[in-house]
């Protein structure tokens, strides 16, 4: 034992590990490895640990947090991936492992995978549910736009607005629509529109581009900002064939920015036709209404009902005349009658007056001294004194002879 040790180099564990490590690192500078992910773990630190395996072997992998953060999709057990990695040794455990620099899904693009994953996640959360869709106002007065001030989208929107229904205000909140920070700006713009409440509807979008160009509209934070917006949002991203996460969560999906305007704004030509129609209805209805009033007026004027009061008046007037005449006659009669009666009475009174009898030659004979009217000759005696009342004056006389019967 002693002799061996003097001839042979003896490594410490650390020295050997260093040897292995440098050999590995030099032999395999950077490499691509294909395999399936298993034993995935992602502790609080944010670093990702997993095993890459195929049917007959496996190898430990580490993905540092700063790299993991930039992967658009979620790493999951069972994913078939190709990793770009450096091979090295984790000295503490004497374990060789791959330090992953980049990770690509196999058979599908990174972004496509991310898109699918996010779509599934948000779908399961119910963000795409019909019941969350807000109605788009029929005649918006102000339209908010979240897009780039220099892109094709805002130009198209302006052009179609002028053609379709120019009497609206377009309010742009300029944002970057691609590259670093674009998603954050879009989120901020949607939040500001919701804070200030100056528009009836929002168009969020941009013109066409590659999947990478459109990526901001596939980001989760943008999807969530659209979901919580209380202003209805129309998504208008890219061309007809492009679908983004924003399209699923928006209240209405328009295939392009131009189409968004066409879907939001009514067509003024149609409306002008409608207004003309209604106005025509208005005028003809008013005409026939006035006509019918004229007819009614005419028929009322000639109706018995309206003539009746005049008739009654005339009749009454006549009746009044009649009454007056009757009263006059009655009064005249009454007067005449009274006069007649009066003269009769006077006549009778005259006839009854003894003076009137005397006037006709009769005389009244009183026996004196009792001045008793003498009606029977035998009631007198000779020498009785008499007073005889004549029509004018009286005489005093004495009975000288009596002739009874």
């Amino acid at each position: 034992m002693e002799q061996y040790t003097s001839q042979v180099k003896i490594y410490t564990v650390w020295e050997l590990t260093q040897e292995i490590k440098s050999t590995l690192e030099q032999t395999f500078p950077a490499l691509w490895v294909e395999g399936e992910i298993s034993n995935l773990s992602q502790p609080f630190s944010g670093h990702v640990y997993f095993t890459l395996k195929d049917e007959s072997a496996q190898i430990r992998c580490v993905l540092w947090r700063n790299i993991a953060e930039y992967l658009p999709f979620q790493i999951e057990d069972g994913q078939h991936v190709i990793v770009l990695a450096k091979l090295s040794v984790y000295e503490k455990q004497g374990q060789y492992q791959l330090y992953v620099e980049d990770l690509h899904p196999v058979g599908i693009g990174k972004l496509e995978l991310a898109f699918q994953q996010l779509k599934e996640k948000l779908y399961n959360e119910g963000l795409f549910d019909e019941r969350h869709k807000q109605p788009i106002p029929k005649f918006p007065q102000r339209i908010g736009i979240v897009t780039s001030p220099t892109g094709a989208a805002i130009r198209d929107i302006l052009k179609i607005t002028r053609r379709r229904f120019p009497a609206v205000e377009l309010i742009l909140r300029p944002v970057r629509v691609q590259g670093e920070g674009a998603a954050e700006e879009i989120v901020q713009a949607i939040a500001e529109f919701n804070q200030f409440r100056v528009v009836d509807v929002l168009i969020v979008g941009r013109g066409g581009g590659s999947l990478e160009d459109l990526w901001a509209f596939n980001e989760e934070k943008v999807a969530r900002a659209i979901f919580v917006s209380r202003i209805p949002i129309v998504s208008a991203v890219g061309h007809e064939i492009d679908f983004t996460i924003v399209d699923f969560v928006a209240d209405l999906r328009a295939p392009t920015p131009s189409a968004a305007v066409e879907m939001i704004l009514p067509d003024r030509k149609e409306l002008a036709k409608e207004i003309r129609n209604v106005s025509r209805r208005l005028v003809s209805a008013q005409h026939s209404l006035i006509d019918s009033y004229r007819q009614r007026l005419k028929s009322v004027l000639t109706s018995y009902g309206l003539k009746r009061p005049a008739d009654i008046l005339l009749q009454n007037r006549q009746r009044l005349d009649e009454l007056i005449r009757q009263i006059s006659i009655a009064a005249a009669n009454l007067l005449q009658h009274a006069q007649q009666k009066f003269s009769t009475s006077v006549g009778r009174l005259n006839a009854l007056s003894p003076l009137a009898v005397l006037e006709r030659g009769y005389s009244v004979c009183y026996k004196l001294p009792e001045k008793k009217i003498v009606k029977i000759a035998s009631s007198l005696k000779l020498k009785d004194e008499l007073e005889v009342l004549l029509w004018k004056g009286k005489v005093h006389s004495q009975v000288t002879a009596i002739y009874p019967e």
């Binding site: 007065q141 102000r142 220099t150 302006l158 309010i171 003024r268 207004i275 209805a285």
Partner: protein
């Protein structure tokens, strides 16, 4: 004409309502004349709105605190600034 002072939607539905009322024919004459006049005015106003040719384009600018303003926006100058 500036931006719509009243809602086009309300004006249009009121106009239709008036047409229906008049067509029903059972309005007092005075009332019918009143709403007929209103209807004609509405229809004129709607036509004016429809005949407007320019759209106003503005920019939403957030200010300090909870304030904001709307600035006129010219797309050409935005392009040059880029």
């Amino acid at each position: 004409m500036p931006a719509q002072k009243q809602s086009f939607e309300k004006a249009l539905s009121r106009l239709e309502e008036i047409a229906e009322k008049l067509e029903s024919g059972d309005l007092p004459l005075e009332e019918s004349l009143k709403i007929f006049k209103e209807g004609i005015e509405l229809s004129r106003w709607c036509s004016q709105v429809l005949n407007q040719t320019e759209s106003e384009l503005k920019k939403l600018v957030k200010l300090e605190g909870k304030k904001f303003k709307l600035e006129p926006l010219d797309l050409e100058s935005e392009n040059e600034a880029e």
